[in-house]
């Protein structure tokens, strides 16, 4: 058949990840921190030859594996599902495995996500983030006896909370939020997203409890709708919209 228009991934090498492809040069400016070495952070610059369709994560691996083994970052699945590698890339919170080199050429500035204590290089302490998540009762609450088969739910009822089921807890949204930067008590967008996922699930009976928690000083009314969270979400969740829906439920439905 006639060759269909291809993604340029097909054009630039002999089919190998490491091959005689069309190499490009990328400069990586990385914010470093290592408590074993010194008390303050510093910047390092690395130059690598890479391919345009490589992920930024691949570029960071190249640095770690062939230039500086001390560079520390989290990663696992490398295709945007596990949520390990949220970092600030050219000023925006992104997953390093969902940013392609060609989109940041010739230079990428990479920093840890903000608002959580940095432990080493791009690794931050996730514990405050998960504490926020746990605070909103992130599990189905339904004390009725379990039926023999499934609880019925119409496709429309299922659709109601679909968007917020996509959350991978990467913290990109929460650590993009200026309110969270300034107030560590604020539960943050990701916790609200996960509350939303249950509040609007027709099978769940815990909405009152969650809305009460989110009506507190540390809850949804801290949000100033800057939309940073929505912009940061690698899963395309309409985070701000979810927060607004929870606010409306508190104001008009429950109290």
């Amino acid at each position: 058949m006639a060759e269909e228009p291809l993604g340029d991934v097909l054009d630039d090498s002999d089919g190998r990840r490491v091959g005689a492809g069309s190499k490009v040069t990328l400069t990586l400016r990385v914010r470093r921190y290592n408590p074993d070495v010194r008390a303050d952070s510093w910047w390092d610059e690395f130059t690598i030859d890479t391919e345009p369709n490589d992920r930024l994560l691949d570029a960071l691996h190249q640095v770690k594996w062939y230039q500086d083994g001390t560079l520390a970052l989290r990663r696992s699945c490398a295709h945007g599902i596990c949520g390990s590698d949220a970092m600030m890339i050219n000023g925006k919170n992104r997953l390093a495995c969902k940013v392609l080199v060609k989109d940041v050429l010739p230079k990428a500035t990479v920093e840890p996500i903000r608002g959580l204590p940095v432990l080493k290089d791009l690794i931050v302490d996730m514990e405050p983030f998960f504490a926020g998540y746990r605070s909103i009762l992130p599990y189905l609450i339904n004390d009725e006896g379990e039926p023999d088969r499934e609880r019925r739910q119409t496709p429309e009822e299922r659709h109601r909370f679909d968007d917020t089921t996509k959350c991978i807890l990467c913290a990109a949204c929460t650590t993009a939020c200026p309110i969270f930067w300034g107030d560590e008590e604020y539960v943050g967008p990701a916790a609200i997203v996960n509350a939303h996922r249950f509040i609007y699930d027709s099978r769940d009976h815990g909405a009152d409890d969650r809305l009460r928690i989110l009506a507190e000083r540390t809850g949804v009314f801290r949000c100033r709708t800057t939309f940073n969270c929505t912009d940061a979400c690698p899963r395309g969740i309409e985070v701000t919209k979810a927060i607004q829906e929870v606010k409306r439920s508190i104001l008009f439905e429950r109290f």
């Binding site: 058949m1 991934v9 089919g15 990840r17 520390a72 699945c77 499934e150 496709p155």
Partner: protein
């Protein structure tokens, strides 16, 4: 400084199997879950297409039909009693997940919706059947989230970013594990009556893989170094539809929803290889068909080493609603628009059918006589029950983790409740300490990344979809050289805080162990069965090979093999046609 923790049950790994076991065990005894990641980073989350159970919500179906498909799909290497049990328990397992809140897609009358999947048929092969319960193409994500939520609800104790390096065995029974805390660089001893490995697979031994960077066979290798066998390591599944070059999984659900495969001549070639179910043949057959098309010059793309996945004819809402993630992968990583363009794919290393041998209660068993190791358990991809035989059917891994995670969690808790752990030796962390000291001792030497990438390249060239005595012997030779170089590996980072370079070096050692066991077992099995295709022995040989292999680490680092009979049942091995 080594900290000692005391628990009744310790679970290593926090994916689907580990979390499901934790839910079961933590209700009964003091339980700790140790993971080198945060639980929600586990690779269960990337499973896409569904979880099969004969609910019969959309079409007539029975657990027995499911069991037959599982056995046939596994090319009759499946232990049939275990498969029957799994398919029977599948139905309640799905309902339980639903009761815990898993947001399955729904039928118009509000039941769990079901769709077609490779190798799953009605009435023993008549036609494809709608059996896979699903949540868009994010079923694994939803399972992982739901199980984690239930653990949060139960206040399960997690040790996140603790990397298990050794298993404590005393007089033939398990007594705990030793873990390296990434944040501090300290070793921790977890003293316990029962230990479960639920560490996942080891697809990172291949260059093209759907597996996470972290899937390095840690659990199987740690057990192997402590004398446990690894079963059926020669059977590694190559999923037909990985993103070209990158290996990222594009779910079989794409074909379940009506997607088809095309070669460079625009021919739907699966019609020739599997006239009844066509593109929904099991993965081993489809991957081999792709290989054959490429070999005969009908591969697509500039290098003629891909084929096309075509969904252009599917209704837009099916693509957007039921396959949203897969669609996004094509857009992000290939710059291809699947609604109007063909998606280039190639087989990708996906799933280890082999692993630590277990019985139906997830107890680790050794030798042809299946002697249980008291207190030691394994579940999920790192285990081999064996319900997948020589080739796992799509969706059955998600089923495996919840069914055998539950059974193992229950059994390990009961065992721990009734027995004290063996006493700790004087220096329980000794082996782990020596391993780390060895890796940290050199200030120059071999680069771990070089060794890893050579391992991955050569396993892709010599131990992938097609193998032969020649290719495997060559691979064995290469592995010998890589092992020698590994003994001289040098870790640049001398720090204690998040020394992930040190962890990666340890992972590479485990990966080499798994590769050695894989190649030795593949070399011994001079037949073709399921995912193990030997071009020098292209036929299945039931007379000699209705047997599981058991690989042991020999005294000199060599591999010793034993064999045990497959547990047959109602299904007599017959020719596999689809």
């Amino acid at each position: 400084m080594t900290t000692v923790h005391t628990y009744d049950a310790v679970i290593v790994g926090a994916g689907g199997a580990g979390l499901r076991a934790a839910i079961e065990a933590s209700d009964r005894v003091r339980t700790a879950v140790i993971s080198k990641l945060y639980p929600t980073r586990s690779h269960t989350g990337t499973a896409q297409g569904g979880m099969c159970a004969a609910l019969g919500n959309v079409e007539e179906d029975y657990p027995e039909w499911h069991a037959f498909d599982t056995v046939k799909g596994g090319d009759y290497l499946v232990d049939q009693p275990a498969a029957l049990l799994m398919c029977e328990e599948a139905v309640d397992a799905v309902y339980q997940l639903e009761h815990w809140g898993l947001p399955f897609n729904r039928t118009t009358d509000g039941r769990i919706d079901q769709r077609r999947f490779g190798g799953h048929t009605r009435n023993h092969g008549e036609a494809a059947v709608k059996r896979a319960c699903y949540a868009a193409d994010r079923t694994g994500h939803m399972i992982l989230q739901t199980l984690y939520q239930q653990c949060v609800k139960r206040n399960v104790r997690f040790f996140n970013e603790f990397y298990v390096l050794d298993l404590l065995i005393d007089d033939g029974r398990a007594g705990g594990v030793v873990a390296y805390e990434l944040a501090s660089g300290e070793l921790h001893v977890f003293h316990a009556s029962s230990v479960m490995f639920a560490t996942g697979g080891f697809g990172r031994m291949f260059r093209v893989t759907s597996n996470a960077h972290t899937l390095t066979g840690d659990g199987p290798a740690v057990a192997w170094r402590r004398g446990m066998p690894l079963e059926d390591m020669e059977f590694f599944q190559f999923h037909p539809t990985g993103v070209y070059k990158m290996g990222i999984l594009l779910s079989e659900a794409v074909r379940g929803e009506g997607g088809i495969l095309l070669n460079a001549e625009n021919e739907r070639f699966m019609e020739r290889y599997a006239p009844t179910v066509k593109d929904l043949a099991p993965r081993d057959l489809v991957s081999r068909a792709i290989y054959q098309e490429i070999k005969e010059g009908r591969g697509a793309g500039p290098h003629k080493d891909a084929v096309w996945l075509d969904v252009r004819h599917l209704p837009r809402e099916v693509i957007e609603e039921k396959l949203p993630d897969v669609t996004e992968f094509a857009r992000v990583y290939l710059s291809v628009e699947p609604t109007t363009e063909l998606v280039p794919i190639q087989p990708t290393a996906h799933y280890a059918m082999g692993g630590i041998p277990t019985d139906d209660e997830a107890r680790v068993v050794t030798g042809p006589g299946e002697t249980p190791v008291p207190g030691l358990y394994a579940a999920g991809e790192c285990a081999c029950v064996s319900v997948h035989g020589a080739n796992r059917l799509g969706t059955n891994s998600l089923l495996d983790i919840v069914v055998f995670g539950r059974r193992g969690g229950k059994h390990m808790a009961e065992f721990a409740g009734g027995s004290d752990p063996p006493e700790l030796s004087e220096r329980p962390e000794g082996i782990a300490r020596d391993m780390l000291d060895g890796l940290m001792s050199r200030r120059e030497g071999a680069n771990a990344a070089d060794i890893r990438s050579e391992l991955q390249e050569s396993m892709f060239d010599l131990g992938f979809v097609v193998r032969s005595e020649t290719s495997l012997k060559k691979m064995q030779q290469i592995l010998g050289g890589l092992r020698e170089r590994y003994e001289r590996v040098f870790v640049q980072d001398t720090g204690r805080t998040y020394n992930t370079e040190l962890m990666e070096a340890a992972e590479l050692g485990f990966l080499l162990d798994c590769a050695e066991a894989t190649v030795a077992a593949a070399l011994a099995r001079d037949e073709t069965r399921g995912a193990h295709y030997r071009e020098d022995h292209p036929m299945r040989d039931d007379e000699h090979w209705l047997k599981h292999s058991l690989a042991y680490r020999g005294p000199g680092g060599d591999v010793r093999l034993e064999f045990k009979d497959v547990k047959l049942g109602p299904y007599v091995p017959m020719e596999r046609k689809y």
